[in-house]
Structures are given as C-alpha cells and as structure tokens.
Amino acid sequence: MVPSVRDIGRLCLPLSGVVLIGLIWFAASRSVPDLPSPARTWNESKSYVLQPFDKRGEMDQGIGRLAYYSLVRVSKGFLLGIALATPLGLLLGVSPTLHRMFDPVIQILRPISPLAWLPLGLVVFRKSEPAAMFAIAVCSMWPTVINSAAGVRAIPQDYWNVAKVLHLSRFMTFTKIVVPATLPYIFTGYRLSLGIAWLVIVASEMLTGTPGIGGFLWQEYNSLIYAHILLAIITIGLIGFALDRLMGLAESRLRAA
C-alpha cells in the first residue's frame, strides 16, 4: 500500500519536531561546557539502556530496573490517593453542604508542592518509603476529588427522576445510577492524578535518596555524571507519556461503553 501524503505528514511532522529539539540541545551543548551533547549522552548511557535490568549496586542499576522501582512507588501512592479521593469526591458531589464546607480547604491544599508535603511526611512517618507514598497520595488525589464531585453534580435530573420513580434504595441509586453516570469523570480524574503522581515521584526520590529514577538522577548529579541526568529526564518523560496514553485508552473505552 502506498502511504498517502497525510500518513507521511502524520509520521514526519512529530519526527521533525524531535529532530529540531535535538538540534537545539546540540547547539546548547556547544555553548555550555558542562552540558553533554546528544552523542555523548548516548555513549555514556548505552550500558544502562541496553542492559536495562542489570544490577551493579544500589543506585548503579539498569534504567528499566530503576523505572520499575519508581513505578511501584508511584502505583502505591496513586492507588492510596484515588482510594481516598474517589469516595470523598462522590460524597462532595452528592452533598452541597459538604461541598461548601470542604471546597475552600481543597482549593488551599491543592496547590501545595510535593516538596512541601514530603518533610511533613518524614516527620509523621519517620521513614522515607511511607513519606514518599504520603506525598504522592496527597498531591495526586485532588483532580480525582474534583472530577468525581463534578461528575455527580453533572448527572442529569432525568436519572434522579428515574431513581425517584422506581423508588430505588440509596444503595441501588448509588450502584445503578451514580457510579455508572460518574465513571467517565472519575477516570478523567484518575488520568490527571496519575500524571501528578509521576511528577511527584522524582521530587520525593531526590529528597529521600531512595533507589529509583529520581534518586538516580540526583545521585548522578552529585557524582558529576551529567549525561545520566539527561538519560533520566528522557526516561521520565517517556514513561509519563506512556502512562498518560494508557489511562487515555482506558478512559475512551469507558466512554464508548
């Protein structure tokens, strides 16, 4: 099959974007002496990428292994976050009183940086792992809270009327109407939450020095191996992109159903 002009454009335009950024990076590496060029970055990172699951030391591990640690940590924090956020959001959506009560608090808590939560987590939990989980959960839960609440409020009056006419019990109204009607909103919340959770991981690993992609980045900076910083940055970006796409896929499936 001959690819059409549109197909070529679809592939070539993003590729040329990548090439352009590469050129800018290359040019920048010429003028900033400590910034490694793309070629040098590749040369120094090869062993990490080509043997992604090697383990040579606590921080000296293949990039796949480091990413795996980070992903496990993110999933724990993210799952904890949405486990708290979903019921809270649904509750705030159902009750205007609760919403008025907690909305200001949420708006105040939402913009707080993970860098601010982490020390508090360390004070409370005294260990880096639970503190990281706490920071991820607390930072990533807000989009899910806000979206689930918005989803409940967006349920058309028609469906509430159906619940009234059929005399559905509270439980039935919840499982047969509120949850299915809100599900697409909830998943949009999850997608945004996961994005934030992934942002937080790096900050928390840098501060706590635990093995993972963010810890690796910080350690390599301290050991003056700047090429690995770029390797870590690119890896973080690619994984974040993949996570977002996966959640997007789940979300669109849900909308189609």
């Binding site: 009327n161 006419v165 047969k176 009607a181």
Partner: protein
Amino acid sequence: MAYIDVSSVSKAFAAGRAVRCVLEDVTLSVERGEFVSIVGFMGCGKSTLLSIIAGLMPPDAGEVRLGGELVRGVRPKTAIVFQNYSLLPWLTALENVHLAVAAALPMWPRERQATQARWYLEKVGLASAADRRPHQLSGGMRQRVAIARALATEPDVLFLDDPFGALDALTRANLQQELAQLCSAEARPVTTIMITNSVEEALLLSDRIVPMTHGPRATLGRPVAVAIPKPRTLAQLVHDEHARHSRARVVESLTASVRRPRRLQCTPQPVEDIGLTAVPNRSGA
C-alpha cells in the same frame, strides 16, 4: 371524592429576578381507571403540572391527593413515561426494564422478575433488541422500552409526559396505536394521565380531554368527554361523528385561550411557540 384530586394547585419559578407564574389555581379530578389527557400548547406548563401530580415536584399552593392520601414525593405503584425516554444508557433494554421490575416488585422471586421484564419487552415488540443499549435503538424503540419499563412494574397509576413528543409523525402514529392496544389489554384498570399537544392522540386514548390554557398562569379549561368504545383506531376517528364533535370543542377552547389573553400580572414571557399541532383543522377549514 375522586381517585386523583388536584385542588387549586399553583406553581411559580424564579426567572432571573422576576417570578414567573406557570400554573394558577389548577383543579382536576380523575376517577379510578380513567384515562385523562391534558392537551395544551408547548411550554404552557403541562409538564410542570404532571410533575406536581406525580410527586416529582411540590406545588407552591394547593394540594394533590391520590386515593385520599396527600401526595408527597413519588408514590409507590406509580409509573411515569418521560418525553425524553430517561433510559439508563449503561444498561441494555432488558436491564432497564428489569431494574424497574426488581425495584417495584422486590418480593417476587428473581425468575419471575426476569420473566416479567422479558414478557413486557416482547409485548412492545422488542424481544430481539433486548440486549441492545439505548444509544443503539431508534427514538421509537427507546420509547417502547420506556413504556415496557412503566407497564412491567404493574402500576395502578400511570403518568405519560408527552410520551411521543420527540418522535417523527409516522412513528408517533404507530406507537399511539400500540399504546391504545396495550392500555386496553391490561387486566387491571390503570388510572392514566397523559400530557400531549396532539388532539388526535388525546382522542385516540382518552376517556376525557382537558384543555389547558396558554401559560404563563395556565389553568385548565372545561373537560370534554370522549364516549367512543376502546380500543379506537386513528382511521376510525377521522370519520366518527362524536370524535369530530369532541375535537371541535377541544380546539375551540384551546384557540379561545390564545385569542383572549388575560391581563398578565406576572412578568410576561415571550410566546415562543404557538404549537399548531394542537389545532390540526384550523388551516384546512
């Protein structure tokens, strides 16, 4: 005392800063087993009245009694068919009906509930579409599911809120005919109030037609009895002398309400739509 007793019901809504009276001093009584249609122009407050009678919305003044009891909230053994179907899009046609049966008749064993749901879906001719979701069905099919959902709960009061208003004319005529048959086939007498803007639809189905004056401040005109044996057909109505007479009286009282608008004390609203469907003979005569 009548089975359904609506006495001096009024309702107003806030429209920006002004208050808009939708219904004023509406009184109506319906006997057990009777089929009454309220016919009026689009936007005259018919649906509001039905919502109040059904208990979906409280009146500002006046009261509604059903079987002697004051209506507060939707009463059990009541079914409502909405103009926009109001099917749950995440459930299949059968599941929509089944949910209603399970909720209305919880003491029945599961199997009997399932049989009941299937039986009514079959009755409206949708046995083959049982596993499809509402968005895979046409408007007419959706409204059939909604009718099956209402009748399957074995209600003794049925409210039809312009059930065919969103359908094209041909589908509409078909479904009217089917509803006429379904209603007369029910073993128990079902007291029914229907809202419509079609005089023909009202003639086909009702024992009594109540014209509603044009809102705001809508109120009910004098009822017109339709003493033609049921089930009726649309074709039969065209030539029937009695039908012609009833039609003329309904149309007359509807048009009179437009020609002589009462002085409005509330904020007047623009009359967006003089729904000509309510007066089919005016242009032809």
